[in-house]
């Protein structure tokens, strides 16, 4: 049979089946839509957080705090040595006074903490910017360790440490999210399988007639496969639409805070949108194939 004619027939029959048992089909579509909505929301959240973390990683610095009492000459010598490695793109000097002013600006509610000391309470430092593309991990690590041992240096903060920790947290959230989505999708597959098995049961007499006149199994099952596929695509599409509308409505309403900005940053990429619809379609098809695998029809 010409493939296009067969698909045309499968599609028409699938639509008739969906229309005929629209209530139970709606349950299957809703289950898939809810699963993919939750999955999509997690994807959106993790995607935006990940973008921010990558931004931080690109902007990461090594902060070298000087010991109190380091002479200007020793500090200059250290600054000069900090420029040596090929990955260093710039060294900014922050005096103890500038450090205090910055603290007061960033944390005004606790600014008193740095007041009333006889001398500057915060140490002077060098902020070393580097190009992540040029970093050789082992050499970089050795360089950081050598800085920690330098006599002029009181402490070294490597931004990569907390960025890596944040990435670890993101991976855990992603893993949990993935597990939740898998469980929900499996539930959706079972729902679709049950719905299609029920539809096939409703049509069992017709299916018997089809077999008697010489229809192949593919011709008999094709409409059910397409039905599952359509349910999955509908579920994925509804989830995507709900996510988009939710994002659209939420963005202007969230307070202009840093975290809100991160979470509502940008909508899912086209690739992620296609992933959601494809997952829906796959869940629908798997449900249909699973429901008709045995002698269910």
């Amino acid at each position: 049979m010409a493939v296009h004619r067969a698909f045309g027939y499968f599609f028409r029959e699938a639509i008739v089946n969906l229309a005929r048992s629209w209530k139970i089909s709606a349950v299957a579509v809703s289950t898939i839509a809810v699963s993919l909505f939750i999955g999509g929301a997690l994807l959106l959240l993790i995607g935006n957080l990940d973008r921010q973390v990558q931004e931080w990683r690109r902007e990461a610095k090594v902060i070298v705090y000087l010991r109190p009492g380091v002479t200007p000459a020793a500090a200059s010598g250290l600054q000069a040595s900090l420029r040596q490695p090929r990955w260093v793109s710039g060294v900014a000097s922050v005096s103890a006074e500038q450090a205090r002013q910055r603290f007061e600006r960033y944390f005004p509610s606790v600014a008193e903490l740095v007041h009333g000391w006889g001398e500057e309470p915060l140490p002077a430092s060098f902020e070393v910017a580097y190009d992540p593309e040029r970093v050789e991990p082992r050499a970089f690590e050795a360089w950081v360790q050598s800085l920690r041992r330098a006599p002029q240096v009181g402490m070294v903060d490597d931004d990569r440490d907390w960025v890596s920790q944040l990435e670890g947290v993101l991976r855990v959230i992603g893993g949990i999210g993935l597990a939740v989505v898998v469980v929900l999708l499996v539930a959706a597959i079972f729902t679709i399988a049950s719905v299609i098995r029920l539809t096939a049961y409703l049509y069992r007499d017709e299916i018997g007639v089809m077999r008697l006149v010489g229809a192949t199994e593919l011709f008999i099952r094709g409409p059910f496969y397409v039905e599952g596929l359509v349910q999955g695509i509908l579920g994925g599409g509804i989830a995507l639409l709900a996510l988009y509308l939710g994002h659209l409505v939420m963005v202007p309403q969230v307070p202009r805070t840093w975290l809100a900005g991160v979470l509502t940053g940008s909508f899912l990429s086209l690739r992620d949108q296609l992933l959601i619809v494809t997952l829906g379609a796959a869940a629908g098809l798997v449900g249909a194939v699973a429901s008709l695998r045995r002698e269910a029809v």
């Binding site: 010409a2 004619r5 007639v209 089809m210 006149v213 010489g214 229809a215 011709f219």
Partner: protein, 250 residues
């Protein structure tokens, strides 16, 4: 065309539906299959279109060994035959036209050919004017004619009917048998299971008579029909057949 050689069918629990049944129906022949309820008529027909598989023996239908036919090839066997049932087995949610054009659609014919075939076949059974009706809007006789049209639409070589007039009044039953005769005159082999003795006598065709799963009479054996008519007692013995070779290809 249809060749049974020592065919038995036993169901789980030991029930013997058919027991060592042997007969042969030639191309273009018209035969009745008769016998009391439970004699095995329906089982025998189901074996022909491979809804059942024999427990033992061999069945050849148009040169194919039906018993050993792979499952995926069964639809292709069924496309060479038309099957008609007592309860019509039409699809109620589809129109008469859609019921009849289902097989052409399965075969992938284009819309125009589907329409032409379905129309011509419906015209042949006198129902071209009811193409758009749904089965439940038709009388029993009309529904059976639609079922016959569906069975004929692919111009099958064999037509198998299981009690096709069981649900019809005598006048409608007569019309249906006239249709079968006409189909047979065009060259289709026809095998009809019925226990309507009046029709069997009137049409004077070959009769295969089953009782308790055994073939008790084959009227193609000279004198058998006369003996049955005269005495009302089923004559014993079946026409002897040449055994099939051991391996028959499907």
């Amino acid at each position: 065309m249809i060749h049974f050689y020592r065919v038995s069918k036993h169901y789980p629990g030991g029930q013997r539906a058919l027991d060592e049944v042997t007969f042969q129906i030639e191309r273009g022949e018209f035969a009745f299959l008769t016998g009391p309820s439970g004699a095995g008529k329906s089982t025998l027909l189901r074996l022909i279109f491979r809804q059942e598989i024999p427990t033992s023996g061999q069945i050849l239908v148009n040169g194919r060994n039906v018993a050993s036919l792979p499952r995926r090839k069964v639809p292709f066997l069924r496309r060479t035959m038309g099957v008609v049932f007592q309860d019509f087995r039409l699809i109620p949610r589809k129109t008469v036209f859609e019921n009849v054009s289902y097989l052409p659609r399965v075969l992938g014919l284009d819309g125009q050919r589907q329409k032409r075939l379905a129309y011509e076949t419906l015209r042949r059974v006198g129902l071209a004017h009811r193409m758009k009706a749904f089965p439940l809007e038709l009388s029993g006789g009309e529904q059976q004619r639609v079922a016959i049209a569906r069975a004929l639409v692919n111009q099958p070589e064999i037509l198998v009917a299981d009690e096709p007039t069981g649900n019809l009044d005598p006048e409608m039953a007569r019309e249906i048998f006239e249709l079968f005769l006409e189909i047979n005159r065009r060259g289709t082999t026809v095998l009809v299971a019925t226990h309507d003795a009046h029709v069997i006598d009137r049409l004077d065709k070959r009769v295969l008579s089953l009782r308790a799963g055994r073939l008790q009479e084959d009227s193609s054996i000279p004198g058998a029909t006369a003996a049955r008519r005269m005495s009302g007692v089923i004559a014993a013995g079946a026409r002897p057949l040449t055994p099939l070779p051991e391996a028959v290809g499907g």
